[in-house]
């Protein structure tokens, strides 16, 4: 779509990173870190998601408007979680 495009090589490197991160997240799940397990798992998942979004989904080369459309729903997702938790957590 744009002049800047990821090449084949970039895609394969990103894929490699994604597979590696999958291995890492499975491995870490065997280590008992208590509450940190959740945090680490979500961190790794978010890293993978960012790689998919930035490279496979081309966000790296898109303009601010597209970034806005891509990120806006995340704000509202946080909103529904926080709002509902404000009730269920404190009953």
């Amino acid at each position: 779509m744009k002049e800047h495009d990821s090449g084949t090589r970039t895609y394969i490197v990103v894929w490699g990173a994604l597979v590696m991160l999958t291995v890492v997240t499975v491995a870490v799940s065997y280590v008992h870190l208590g509450m940190m397990n959740v945090f680490v798992a979500l961190l790794i998942a978010s890293a993978k998601a960012s790689l998919v979004a930035l490279f496979f989904m081309h966000l790296r080369y898109e303009n601010r408007l597209v970034w806005g459309f891509a990120l806006a729903p995340l704000f509202f997702l946080v909103l529904i979680v926080v709002g509902t938790l404000s009730d269920t957590l404190f009953r």
């Binding site: 509202f76 709002g83 509902t84 404000s86 009730d87 269920t88 957590l89």
Partner: protein, 541 residues
């Protein structure tokens, strides 16, 4: 058919045919149309049909409430009546009427485009809407008795066909999402050369804000109804306490959509008012940026306040205080608009044709509705009037006094443009008067009834409430009469109205530069825009 002309000018619309976009005839020219104007007209007819259908249910409700005690209908039938009234009106009329009807017709015209960004998706949205209606009709084999809010646990257990209805509503929601998606991209990408964001009509700002809500809120109600259906079919236990679920979670999800959706209902109407008030005051709109940005603020803040529907459910103390406080924030951008409309009229040169009558009615009735919303946002007050007729009156003042009046204002304003014919003021004004009087008699009494403690959704009531109930029912008959006369005016206008000139109101937005009705391609040449559409300068022009 009278072939009168207007002030001697010949009606023209810039295309070979005087019928403009209405030229091609036949069913298939409508079923397969990609023309946003035709799609808008189809939506308009469909939603207005459900306005009348929902109205019939309302009249039946009010007849039942003339007499306390089990007369006329059983209590079970009554439960079905108010559920059908609410569900039909909200999902099949109030939400889609202005956006999918008038919005589809006028957004491309307002921004100087030939159509929306995705005409095929536009057509698909209409047929998905119709599919949703068909599915909902199928569910009537075992009609809904849950109230339009479908609260669990009752909605998960009732014999009524909630499962089928859930899929119907999912489809309606899908249609809403596709419309909102289309409008967002259209407004970003298809504005005519020179039409910067601050030269757009305010109707477009309000439709943009509306579309944001449609796109982000509707999926949540989609998943909510899906989960409700799964609870009934698969025994999934999200909302079932016996399985560890929480019925209040249903309400959180339901209202996360249903509160923002009231702004889907009101923002387009406000956009229409912002078009009509300057035109009929012959003055530029006061506070263009304030109105534009406050529309966006309403769209965003509207997402923060859903818990105020749930104050008495047993939510945590933290949540009730949080949501009560946040509810006050959304009043501010709303009030800003009202001040701006009034300031626009100040020292204007005002005339009172039907569009302006309905616009003024909107301002008056919506302020009452909105202010009573403020009482309800106060936790301590809401606890006393929740689930009483006070609430019923509040939302009818906002949804009918607000959205419906805005819709009627828009219909009267844009009827000449859409149909190429003028409505009759001789019929229109008495109709308006009956609607205004009937509405207030019906619903103001309900504020009093609610304040005095009469609960909503009850088929029977103690004798002390009967007098006001009778008054309210008589009001509904006056309101119904006015609406019927108004529809008669529409029908008469379609067949025998005087031929309309391109710009009967001498308004300044781009749709008035096309013919009445417009040609299929809207504009012979896409205009280049150099100014905002509110350069009114008094009555001489």
């Amino acid at each position: 058919m009278r072939e009168t002309t207007w002030n001697g000018e010949k009606p023209q619309n810039g295309s070979a045919s005087p019928r403009g976009y209405l030229e091609s005839k036949g069913v298939w020219a409508w079923v397969y149309t990609l023309d946003h104007k035709r799609i808008g007209v189809m939506y308009m007819y469909t939603t207005l049909f459900f306005f009348l259908a929902g109205g019939v249910f309302a009249l039946l409700i009010r007849i039942k409430l003339l007499f306390p005690g089990q007369h006329i209908f059983t209590n079970q039938t009554y439960n079905v009546l108010f559920t059908m009234h609410g569900a039909l009106m909200i999902f099949l009329f109030v939400i889609p009427a202005i956006p999918s009807g008038l919005g589809n017709f006028f957004i491309p015209l307002h921004i100087g485009a030939r159509d929306v960004a995705f005409p095929r998706i536009n057509l698909m949205s209409y047929w998905v809407f119709v599919a949703g209606i068909v599915v909902i009709l199928f569910s009537l084999v075992r009609p809904m008795d849950t109230g339009w809010t479908f609260y669990t646990p009752y909605s998960a257990r009732t014999a009524a066909d909630v499962t089928t209805l859930s899929f119907g509503i999912f489809l309606i929601g899908m249609s809403s999402i596709l419309t909102g998606l289309n409008f967002l991209v259209t407004i970003h990408k298809l504005r005519a050369p020179g039409m910067t964001w601050h030269r757009m009509p305010l109707f477009i700002w309000s439709m943009y804000a509306t579309s944001i809500i449609q796109v982000l809120a509707t999926p949540v109600v989609g998943i909510t109804f899906l989960l409700l259906a799964m609870e009934r079919v698969l025994g999934v236990g999200f909302f079932d306490p016996a399985k560890g679920g929480d019925p209040i979670l249903f309400q959180h999800f339901f209202w996360f959509y249903s509160h923002p959706v009231v702004y889907v209902m009101i923002l387009p109407a406000m956009g229409i008012i912002s078009e009509i008030v300057p035109a009929f005051s012959r003055k530029p709109i006061f506070g263009y940026k304030a109105i534009a940005y406050s529309s966006m603020a309403i769209a965003v803040f509207g997402f923060f306040v859903w818990g105020h529907h749930m104050f008495v459910t047993g939510m945590s103390g933290t949540a009730v205080i949080l949501f009560s406080l946040l509810t006050y924030s959304v009043a501010i951008p709303t009030a800003i608009k009202v001040f701006n409309w009034i300031a626009t009229m100040y020292r204007g040169s005002i005339t009172f044709e039907s569009p302006m009558l309905y616009a003024l009615t909107f301002i008056f009735l919506f302020v009452i509705g909105g202010l009573t919303g403020m009482y309800l946002g106060a936790l301590g007050a809401d606890i006393h009037v929740h689930d009483t007729y006070f609430i019923v009156a509040h939302f009818h003042y906002t949804m009918v006094g607000g959205t419906v009046m805005g819709l009627l204002a828009g219909l009267h304003y844009w009827f000449p443009k859409m149909t190429g014919r003028m409505l009759s003021e001789k019929m229109g004004r008495p109709a308006w008067l009956l609607i205004f009087i009937g509405f207030n008699v019906t619903f103001f009494t309900q504020f009093i009834l609610g304040f005095e403690g009469m609960p909503r959704r009850y088929a029977e009531y103690p004798a002390q409430y009967q007098a006001l109930n009778i008054l309210s029912t008589v009001g509904s008959w006056i309101l119904a009469t006015g609406i019927l006369i108004m529809f008669a005016n529409f029908v008469r206008g379609l067949f025998r109205g005087a031929l309309a000139p391109p710009n009967p109101w001498k308004a300044l937005s781009l749709e008035w530069e096309t013919g009445s009705p417009p040609a299929t391609e809207n504009f012979e040449e896409i205009p280049t825009v150099t100014d905002w559409p509110y350069g009114y300068a008094g009555r001489q022009t």
